[in-house]
């Protein structure tokens, strides 16, 4: 396949940035999208040009490091996957592909396609944990039986990889799917009940301070989420928040 790539180039956080066109040829449909970018970068290095900077690490869809806004969609045209699992068989010979970073006020660009997502970490520092010491002196694991349905729902919420596609897909740059998933995981488990009130209040407060927008229920986040995190998590967070506020 021969392709034209329109890629966002931005030297650093203070640079203005612009779209630049590149051509790649002989791309195999079995390549992953990032392997296609590897080919481009090898080409650029050999021409003494600077390669395109993009985040990636595990390349098997679990670390959440890769991002990319491809043809107007977070993680590109396929569903239920991250960019590293997107394969070139989703594209056609002669296609023009637009590649941009995830855009949001709370995700400033570091370079080219790399953005700073530490705002997610700061939300977690505010309350994304259960306050138990790591001494091992806890009760036996089976002394806390958990209904399978609740355990499975908590697990589904916990599979969020923190990639930020939800924020990038939202017209308001809302992080509520991410925060909702984190709040839900603990809200669904008996171990998480003790701190439930503080947790949701603190995390939501931090989320607002980071400059994420509000949720207007368009559901774009759920559609683009590579892990299929459900909108129910936002509803659950809102319930938890209301409950906590009333308790207050």
């Amino acid at each position: 396949m021969n392709l034209t790539l329109k890629i966002w180039r931005q030297k650093n956080a203070s640079d203005k940035g612009s779209m630049v066109d590149y051509k790649v040829s002989d791309i195999s449909p079995d390549m992953s999208f990032l392997e296609m970018l590897d080919v481009l970068n090898e080409q650029l290095v050999n021409k003494d040009e600077e390669p395109v900077a993009f985040d990636h690490d595990c390349r098997e869809g679990i670390c959440g490091m890769c991002s990319l806004y491809i043809n107007g969609e977070a993680h590109g045209p396929d569903r239920g996957i991250t960019t590293c699992q997107l394969h070139m068989r989703m594209f056609k010979d002669g296609d023009t592909i637009t590649i941009e970073p995830f855009r949001a006020t709370a995700f400033p660009v570091i370079k080219d396609l790399i953005v700073d997502r530490t705002s997610f970490d700061r939300i977690q520092h505010a309350g994304g944990f259960i306050s138990v010491n790591t001494s091992g002196n806890t009760i036996d694991a089976n002394a806390i039986p958990i209904n399978k349905h609740d355990a499975d729902t908590a697990f589904e919420a916990a599979t969020c990889i923190g990639c930020g596609a939800c924020v990038a897909s939202c017209k308001n740059s809302s992080a509520m799917l991410f925060v909702g998933a984190k709040v839900s995981q603990f809200a669904l488990l008996p171990q998480g009940q003790v701190e439930a009130t503080d947790r949701v209040l603190n995390m939501v407060k931090q989320m607002d301070e980071e400059g994420f927008g509000n949720c207007t229920n368009t559901g774009a986040c759920e559609v683009e989420c590579p892990k299929g995190i459900s909108l129910e998590n936002i509803a659950r967070m809102n319930r938890e928040y209301l409950k906590a506020s009333l308790k207050g």
Partner: protein
């Protein structure tokens, strides 16, 4: 320097308890005056950072990723072992200890493994208390599965994402401490050297990957939890950024490197599809619980399948060779990883590989789908003879257990594994070798500790499935926090370590010199060009089967390639910016040294054991004909290599392994 493993005296079951009762402790008020650096934030580093901060030490944690939660432990799929005996199938601390030592082909340190088995049950309690959502049964209790190389069900799991859930647990424990200001977190920072002051590890030099800034960080002790070095093969199941640099720099500063040749080639990975490939993807070993491995019996069927004139699911049962079940009736598809990998290679080398490159075997779920489908139909009172219904029900069960893996497979290979068998082939996965540590997890450099995959101690020559997560968390949560206290008790009056000393300055200058060399060298080839070449040498000559000729050639080829690299490598851009090529150049430079030591170690070990298979060391006759032949008389030692400049000059120190509680036997899975 003679190696002292510092194993406590007394019966094996009492060693750890006695040890803990007699070590020096640091009073809580003094812990505030002590700084600790933790490099790496995977299961080992993350759990250590959280626990040390909770104890009261001032922790600085470093990772090269943009968040500690992205460390490659996150990609571990299958599960974590613990001797809970919840299934009542005869499990115990001793049995987990025994299986791990046996699985490691009797090349691990008995006392360390016993301690690991001993603390394993605590890990599960701890993780559940932290809110890790393990899989549960309908009664609300924890579920278990079994894994290769053992006869009990002791593996706890969270679908095919166990590593992710455990890492998020450790990360949440870290978050709590970051929020309290007890951990200072440095994301996107790479460690480029260890600094020794007065013979002790007292700090590190790092590069800020965003700005290129070179920084000095001091502490009273330094802990490396920086993972394995499988990427020396270029293609492996490791993340793209996984590297040996931190461990290698420690080695150059005096930490002995142990058993570099012990590499695990994992049997169930997605086969290589072409030259463009950047990494390999693992399909969890847990799949072997339900999947049956086979190739066709007859060459004509192999050809028909390759030409796509025959669909694999249409080949008659009688014409299939379930070679693991045939060769190892007692363990069947659940033989340990090294045995399963070699058996796959043997069939493919004989010409029975089922894909275009001839390097793939089938992993088939058809019979599991039938079995589960019938069982579910029976439970629900539906018609067990309705083939379509049984298939649908069975597929649902499989989806519940392995859904994410099946999805991953389908995205990569473009085939639906619910309806056609998966194709798999062995790939480099885990490195059992690593920095040598004593019972305290301290390296040969005082004050420098090494935990998790980065050290060598617990897995011997081969790692059993679901043991890596156990070791990472055991080291970080439960072992190191005790052992390091004993060392730090001497440092309560030391005060902050200054970073303006000559030692820090020299180390920083050296780091700068190398970085400047890379960005100013006017070479011809990219970093990947050299990395791929190194990977080819490693895979062809230092891979799954090794011989004297190949290893000798590999040593000289790697040396040549290294010389070419330092002459001809090309790195665009500058140091003072985000520069991925520059970061990669430093990592590959270290791989080019490690690779040679790796081959040298493999050459020294004239036996076959675990992940190290020498073609000249096989059983020649009897029931075990063709199987790996271990040589306990001459090789029951840990090879600990001391750095002396060039890898070829490295000096071998031997830690003789003593087995007082386990009898050394040939591993038989027949």
């Amino acid at each position: 320097m003679a190696l002292d493993s510092k194993i406590p005296q007394g019966p094996i079951a009492d060693k750890w308890t006695n040890y803990k009762n007699h070590i020096d402790l640091v009073n809580p008020a003094n812990k505030r005056n002590i700084d600790v650096i933790v490099v790496g934030t995977g299961l080992a580093g993350g759990s250590a950072a959280a626990t040390l901060a909770e104890l009261g030490y001032n922790v600085k944690a470093f990772c090269f990723q943009d968040s500690p939660r992205r460390a490659h432990s996150i990609a571990a799929q299958g599960g974590i072992n613990a001797a809970k005996n919840y299934q009542g199938d005869g499990d115990s601390t001793y049995r987990l200890f025994y299986d791990t030592v046996k699985g490691g082909d009797y090349r691990s340190r008995e006392a360390n493994v016993y301690r690991l088995a001993e603390v394993s049950a605590n890990i599960i309690d701890q993780c559940v208390a932290q809110g890790v959502p393990f899989a549960r049964e309908y009664g609300g209790l924890l579920d278990n599965r079994s894994f290769g190389g053992v006869l009990v069900s002791r593996t706890f799991y969270a679908a095919g994402q166990t590593g992710q859930q455990l890492l998020l647990g450790a990360y949440s424990a870290m978050n709590r401490q970051i929020g309290r200001g007890k951990i200072k977190m440095y994301n996107r920072h790479e460690m480029l050297d260890v600094v020794k002051v007065g013979g002790k590890a007292r700090g590190i030099i790092t590069r800020n990957l965003i700005t290129g800034e070179i920084e000095r960080h001091s502490a009273h002790a330094v802990i490396l939890g920086t993972g394995g070095y499988g990427n020396v093969f270029f293609l492996s199941t490791n993340a793209m950024g996984s590297n040996v640099t931190a461990a290698w720099k420690a080695h150059k500063r005096g930490a002995y490197f142990a058993n570099p040749c012990y590499t695990q080639i994992h049997p169930t990975c997605i086969p290589v599809s072409g030259d463009h490939q950047s990494k390999l993807t693992l399909m969890s070993e847990s799949l072997r619980n339900d999947g049956r491995i086979w190739v066709p019996k007859h060459m004509k069927d192999v050809e028909a399948i390759r030409n796509r004139t025959l669909m694999p699911k249409d080949l008659a049962e009688a014409d299939r060779d379930y070679y693991l079940e045939r060769r190892y009736p007692a363990f069947g598809n659940l033989v340990p990883r090294d045995v399963a990998s070699r058996a796959a290679k043997e069939r493919c080398d004989a010409g029975f590989g089922v894909n275009a490159t001839g390097e793939a075997v089938f992993l088939d779920f058809a019979s599991a789908i039938q079995r589960y489908g019938k069982e579910t139909a029976h439970v629900k009172g539906l018609d067990e003879n309705d083939a379509a219904l049984v298939k649908t029900l069975g597929q649902e069960v499989i989806k519940n257990k392995y859904g994410n893996l099946f999805q991953m497979y389908e995205k990569i290979v473009d085939q639906d594994p619910y309806n056609t068998p998966m194709m798999i082939y062995p790939a480099v996965h885990y490195t059992m070798g690593g920095i040598w540590v004593d019972y305290n997890l301290m390296t040969t450099v005082p004050g420098l500790y090494c935990i998790g995959e980065a050290n060598f101690s617990d897995h011997g020559a081969n790692r059993l499935g679901a043991s890596a997560l156990m070791q990472g968390l055991a080291d970080g949560y439960f072992v190191l926090p005790y052992t390091i206290g004993d060392y730090l008790s001497d440092d309560i009056r030391t005060g902050t370590i200054p970073t303006d000393s000559k030692e820090f300055e020299d180390a920083e200058n050296e780091v700068r010199k190398t970085l400047n060399f890379f960005v100013t060298n006017e070479g011809k080839h990219s970093v990947d060009y050299f990395h791929k070449k190194l990977g080819k040498i490693m895979w062809n000559k230092v891979g799954m089967a090794r011989n004297v000729k190949g290893l000798t050639e590999a040593i000289s080829e790697i040396k040549e390639l290294r010389a070419e690299f330092w002459k001809d490598v090309k790195v665009p851009g500058t140091n003072e910016e985000y520069n991925e090529e520059l970061a990669k150049a430093g990592r590959v430079a270290d791989f080019l040294e490690l690779g040679e030591l790796f081959a040298k170690d493999a050459l020294d070990r004239e036996e076959s054991c675990g992940g190290h298979f020498r073609e000249d060391a096989v059983e020649l006759d009897g029931e075990q004909k063709g199987e790996a032949k271990r040589d306990d008389e001459n090789f029951a030692y840990v090879s600990a290599w001391e750095y002396k400049g060039e890898p070829s000059d490295a000096v071998l120190h031997k830690e003789q392994l003593e087995f007082k509680d386990i009898e050394l036997k040939q591993r038989s899975y027949k």
